[in-house]
C-alpha cells in the first residue's frame, strides 16, 4: 500500500493552521453526539458490542474455514470467486475481467479497499473510465484528491470549495446550497450508471453460510451499481467475514449507530450471486475478489490481530482529538485516524509511517467508542515499542533519542542523580523566568513554549519539604 506518511509533521502542521479545514472538522463531533444518543437508546448496547467482538474473534480465529465456506456458497449460487494475495494481483483480476468483457466505463461505490489498492489509477491507465458515484467520493475525484474520512470523504471541503469545483469541472456555476449541488450530481451520475458496463463495490460483510455479500449505504449508488451494469465486481478483505445471517444481525444493529448515529442506514443490500435466469435487472455476472494484501500479517501477530475486527465505521476518527485537528490527509494513508495509525504501519511498514503510532495522546476515546472494542491504545504502545526497541536494520529512533532515554532512565534509577537533574536547573532558572514562568524553553523543548508558558521548577522539592516536617 502506498503511503505519504513521511511528511506527517509538515502536513499536520499545515493542517492545524488551515482555518477552513479547522472549521470543517468541527462538525464531526455531531456524529459522536448522535452515536452516543443512539447507543443510550439501545437496551442491550454493551452486550451487543461484546457479542460483536466475540463473533469477530471466533470468525477470524477460524478464517480459513469460513473463507472456504463463503467461496463454496458464492460459486454454488452462480458467482465467481477470485483470490488476490496483493493489490497488484487484485488490479490484474479486475483489468482482465474488464478486458474480457469489453468494459469501457465503470461505476464505483465507496470502497476503502479499492483506494488501498489504487484501482482507479490502474483502470484509467487501461483507458477505462472509472466514475466514483458516492457523492463525497465524486467530489474528491473531481478535485483530484484523496478521500479524507471513511464516511464523509469530502468533509474537508466547504460548500464554496464544492461550488467552485462544480463550476470548473462540470460547467455548472453559481450553485450555493448543498441540495442544488446534489441534484446536479444525481443527474450527471445517473447517466453514468445507465451506460456503465461494470459496477465495482467493496463489501461490508461476507456471510459465509449463504454466500452473501452485504453492502451498507445511504445514497443508493451501491444499489444502482449492482443493479444496472452487466457485471458486478465486489472486492472484499479476508477479514470481512461473518459466519451467518444471525451473526450479521448483531452487526447491523450497531454499525449505523456507530458510524453516523442512525438506527439503520437507508439501504442495506444482500447480494447472493448475480440475477437469476428469470429476472430482468441486477448484474448478470457476480465476481467476488477475496483480498489479502497484508491482512495475514496482521492475523499472524497476536497483539495486532484484533485490528482485523474493524468495521470501518469511522467512529474512532470522529472522536479522536488528534484527527479532529489534523483531518485525514495528514496521515498520508488511505486509512487515517486511530485505526489508520495502527494498520497503516502494518500494511506499509513502520519505517514509512513512524509518526503515526506516536502522534497520539493515548487518551483512549477511540477504544471507548469502538463498536468491537479494539484496544487501539495498547496496539499503539506495541507499535511504539516495535519502533523504539525493534531489532530493525531498516530504521529506528535516532541515536540521540536512544541515548537521551538511557540517560534519563539512569538518572531515575539513582535518586542523587535524579535530584541533580532537577535541582540544578531549579537553581539556575531565575534569569530565564518572566513573571515566574518560562516563556521560552531551551534545548529543543521550544515546541512547548510556542503556545504555552512552562512552569518554573519549585524552589524546594516535595522531598525536601517532607524532610523538614518530620
Amino acid at each position: 500500500m502506498h503511503v505519504n506518511s513521511e511528511s506527517f509533521i509538515q502536513d499536520s502542521t499545515a493542517a492545524v493552521r488551515n482555518k477552513t479545514l479547522q472549521t470543517r472538522l468541527r462538525v464531526l463531533t455531531g456524529f459522536t453526539v448522535k452515536r452516543n444518543l443512539m447507543f443510550a437508546e439501545l437496551p442491550d448496547g454493551e452486550a451487543l458490542r461484546d457479542r460483536a467482538r466475540q463473533i469477530k474473534e471466533h470468525t477470524i480465529g477460524n478464517l480459513d474455514a469460513y473463507l472456504c465456506q463463503l467461496e463454496e456458497n458464492v460459486v454454488r449460487l452462480g458467482g465467481t470467486v477470485h483470490w488476490a494475495r496483493t493489490g497488484k494481483e487484485a488490479r490484474a483480476i479486475v483489468l482482465e475481467l474488464a478486458r474480457k468483457n469489453n468494459v469501457k466505463r465503470v461505476v464505483k461505490a465507496k470502497s476503502m479497499v479499492t483506494e488501498e489498492i489504487e484501482l482507479n489509477e490502474a483502470l484509467e491507465q487501461a483507458g477505462i473510465e472509472a466514475v466514483e458515484t458516492d457523492l463525497g467520493e465524486y467530489i474528491v475525484q473531481l478535485a483530484n484528491e484523496k478521500p479524507s474520512h471513511i464516511l464523509a470523504p469530502a468533509v474537508h471541503k466547504s460548500k464554496g470549495d464544492i461550488s467552485d469545483l462544480f463550476a470548473d469541472k462540470l460547467g455548472v456555476a453559481n450553485l450555493k446550497e448543498a441540495e442544488e449541488m446534489t441534484v446536479v450530481a444525481r443527474r450527471r451520475l445517473r447517466e453514468k450508471f445507465l451506460t456503465a458496463d461494470m459496477g465495482i463495490t467493496g463489501a461490508n460483510f461476507g456471510v459465509a453460510d449463504s454466500g452473501t455479500i452485504v453492502l451498507v449505504e445511504n445514497e443508493g449508488n451501491i444499489r444502482l451499481s449492482t443493479t444496472v451494469p452487466r457485471i458486478h465486481v465486489a472486492l472484499m478483505g479476508i477479514e470481512k467475514l461473518v459466519p451467518s445471517l444471525d451473526d450479521l444481525a448483531v452487526f447491523l444493529k450497531i454499525l449505523a449507530r456507530s458510524a453516523s448515529g442512525q438506527k439503520m442506514s437507508s439501504y442495506v443490500s444482500f447480494i447472493t450471486g448475480g440475477r437469476r435466469a428469470d429476472e430482468c435487472d441486477g448484474a448478470e455476472e457476480f465476481h467476488l475478489i477475496i483480498l489479502d494484501n497484508g491482512r495475514t500479517r496482521l492475523l499472524a501477530d497476536e497483539e495486532m490481530r484484533e485490528s482485523l475486527y474493524c468495521l470501518r465505521c469511522g467512529a474512532c476518527l470522529n472522536v479522536c482529538p488528534v484527527y479532529q485537528k489534523i483531518g485525514g490527509h495528514a496521515y498520508g494513508s488511505v486509512y487515517s485516524g486511530p485505526i489508520g495509525s495502527i494498520i497503516t504501519p502494518a500494511f506499509a511498514g513502520l519505517e514509512k509511517s513512524k509518526d503515526l503510532p506516536f502522534a497520539s495522546t493515548l487518551c483512549g476515546a477511540c477504544r471507548e467508542i469502538c463498536p468491537v472494542r479494539i484496544d487501539i491504545p495498547r496496539i499503539l504502545l506495541k507499535l511504539r515499542s516495535d519502533w523504539s526497541e525493534g531489532k530493525r536494520t531498516d530504521g529506528g529512533p535516532p541515536l540521540i533519542e536512544k541515548l537521551a532515554i538511557r540517560l534519563w532512565a539512569f538518572a531515575m534509577r539513582h535518586p542523587s542523580v535524579y535530584q541533580l537533574v532537577f535541582r540544578v536547573p531549579a537553581f539556575l532558572q531565575g534569569p530565564l523566568l518572566e513573571d515566574g514562568k518560562f516563556k521560552h524553553l531551551p534545548l529543543g523543548l521550544g515546541g512547548w513554549t510556542t503556545s504555552r508558558d512552562f512552569p518554573a521548577l519549585a524552589r524546594r522539592s516535595f522531598r525536601s519539604m517532607w524532610r523538614d516536617q518530620r
Partner: protein, 238 residues
C-alpha cells in the same frame, strides 16, 4: 502459475498465522446448526408473537417510518389506498408508473384504475429494456416481502415480478404493506429468511429500505434524495 495458487497461498498464510496445520480446516461454528424442525418451531413462535402484538407493531412501524422521513399513510380500504396513490400521482404529474407484479397491487386494482386515468402502469418484461423503462418512470410502486417495526425498514426480495429497478430508479417510491408482513426486527426476520431459504436459497438481492435516499457529504448538511428515490411513501393496507 496455476489458477488456484493465490487461493492456496492465502489459505496457507491464514492457517500459518493462526498457528494451525497448514492443510486442514477446523470444524465450523461453535453453535450446532438448528434442525429443520427447530427452525420451523422458531419461525412459528415468531409469527405467533407478531400476531399477538400486531397493534403495537403497527404503531412502532409507523412512528419509526415517520422518524426516517417516510410519508406514511394508513389506508382502511383498497379504495382509500387507491385514492391516496392517485393523489400522489397528481401531485407529481405522473404519466408513467412501474410496478411489481404482486397480489397487493392487484388487490387495489391499481393497474386498471390508473390506466383509466391515463397513467401508464408497466410491469417488467425480460431483457434490459425494463431498466430504461423504470428510468423513464415517474413513480415506482412495490409491495414488500416483510417490514421491520423497530427501524421502519422495508424488506424487498428481488425475483421475477419484483424487479429491483422499480424501487430504485424513479424519483418516488410507493410501497404497499400489509399488517401481517410487519415483524419486530432483525431477530425475527433472519430466521424466517433462513427457513424460506432452506427450500430455495436466498434471493439474488435482498434490499432493506429505511427511508428515502440521503447524504450528508457536503458540509455534513443533510440532503434527502440523492441517487435512490427522493420520496418514499408507505401505505399500510389494513
Amino acid at each position: 502459475m496455476s489458477i488456484n495458487s493465490a487461493r492456496d497461498a492465502i489459505l496457507r498464510d491464514v492457517r500459518r498465522a493462526l498457528g494451525r496445520d497448514e492443510r486442514t480446516a477446523p470444524p465450523l461454528s461453535e453453535v450446532p446448526a438448528s434442525t429443520s424442525a427447530q427452525l420451523e418451531q422458531l419461525v412459528s413462535q415468531i409469527r405467533d408473537n407478531c400476531e399477538r402484538q400486531r397493534d403495537q407493531l403497527i404503531e412502532r412501524f409507523e412512528s419509526e417510518s415517520i422518524r426516517v422521513g417516510v410519508r406514511f399513510y394508513r389506508a382502511a380500504s383498497a379504495e382509500a389506498a387507491f385514492q391516496h396513490i392517485e393523489a400522489v400521482c397528481k401531485a407529481r404529474e405522473a404519466k408513467r408508473i412501474v410496478g411489481w407484479q404482486a397480489q397487493v397491487i392487484a388487490d387495489v386494482g391499481l393497474r386498471e384504475r390508473l390506466q383509466e386515468r391515463g397513467v401508464e402502469f408497466l410491469s417488467e418484461t425480460n431483457g434490459r429494456e425494463f431498466i430504461r423503462t423504470a428510468e423513464a418512470a415517474d413513480i415506482g410502486i412495490s409491495g414488500v416481502d416483510y417490514a421491520l417495526a423497530d427501524t421502519g425498514t422495508l424488506v424487498l426480495l428481488a425475483c421475477k415480478g419484483q424487479a429491483r429497478s422499480i424501487s430504485l430508479l424513479p424519483p418516488v417510491h410507493i410501497a404497499l404493506v400489509r399488517p401481517r408482513q410487519i415483524l419486530s426486527g432483525l431477530s425475527d426476520l433472519f430466521p424466517i429468511l433462513r427457513a424460506d431459504a432452506k427450500s430455495s436459497d436466498l434471493s439474488s438481492a435482498i434490499t432493506f429500505v429505511t427511508g428515502p435516499s440521503r447524504t450528508a457529504d457536503i458540509e455534513l448538511t443533510l440532503v434527502v434524495g440523492v441517487h435512490g428515490p427522493q420520496q418514499l411513501h408507505v401505505l399500510l393496507l389494513e
